[in-house]
């Protein structure tokens, strides 16, 4: 029984820390803190870079969309000029034919009503 008590006392009894133990613990603690600080700063840098990239991507997208709409607007404007030109030519020819039909120095055949048409000569 005594042997057991002695054994327990020896095993569980207070022992002095090896020399330099406290320094090593403090050193490790500093390392851990430094690592955490480094990780935090890295995360901050990555976040900032991601934010800059995101803002840049949004800006680039908006700029490209604007350029696209400007290009489409220019194309539409050019197309509208061509539409006017084409319709003007068609209108001009139609009016010449209409005027000739109403009697002005021409031989004209009109089949407007889907019949056999009539012929007018005004030479």
């Amino acid at each position: 029984m005594r042997n057991l008590e002695r054994g327990l006392q020896s095993a569980l009894g207070r022992k002095p820390a090896p020399s330099g133990f406290a320094d090593r613990v403090l050193e490790q603690l500093d390392d851990t803190r430094a690592r955490r600080r480094r990780r935090k700063s890295l995360t901050a840098i990555v976040s900032r870079v991601a934010a800059v990239l995101l803002v840049g991507a949004i800006g680039l997208g908006a700029w490209m969309q604007h350029q696209q709409s400007v290009r489409e607007m220019r194309e539409a404007e050019a197309a509208s000029v061509l539409v006017k030109l084409a319709l003007h030519i068609a209108s001009e020819k139609t009016n010449i034919a209409r005027e000739q039909l109403s009697g002005g120095g021409s031989s004209a055949t009109s089949n407007r009503n889907g019949g056999d048409g009539h012929e007018t000569t005004n030479d």
Binding site: E77, A86, H88, I89, S91, K93, N111
Partner: protein, 190 residues
Amino acid sequence: MEEMDMRRRTIEWAVAALVVLATSLPALAQGGKIDLSRLDYSATAVETVEVTLDGPLLRMAAKFMRGQDSDDREIASMIETLQGIYVKSFTFDGPGKWTARDLAAIKAQVGPQWQRIVNVKNRDGEDIEIYFLPKGDILDGIVIVAAEPSELTVVNLVGHIDLDKLSRLENQFGIPEMGLDPSKDVKGKK
């Protein structure tokens, strides 16, 4: 004997190809569109106007014009029902620069479903023909062929269009009225 058989087969194939070609010409004009690609005098003409507008570009033009003044809005309402606008117009420095064969090739595309509603010829050699493609109560296409000694114009509007509105357009776009009085010099060339 074998050679004669081969020759006969070749002739049969040639005849069949010609029949297919002849029947496909009016078919090209189906749907109101005629093929103007072969009509090209741009190398010899002093002035060439070529307009090809269809699909998204025509829609874009209509959308753009809807946001403009009332004249443009009226034109936009006209072209909203169109599927295509095709124009070829050549002005030459003298007569005899275009061939009747090219004109005949254009007219050959206008099939029996088209109606020639106007044919005007005058002493100055001006010849205007207007064809409509009726579809029920509406017009599904217009072909205007205007031939003068020194000018050749073909206009093809595909889709529904109001001819009266078209006639009224001449006074718009800030362009003075032209060609309404045949006694006047229409283009300063006669």
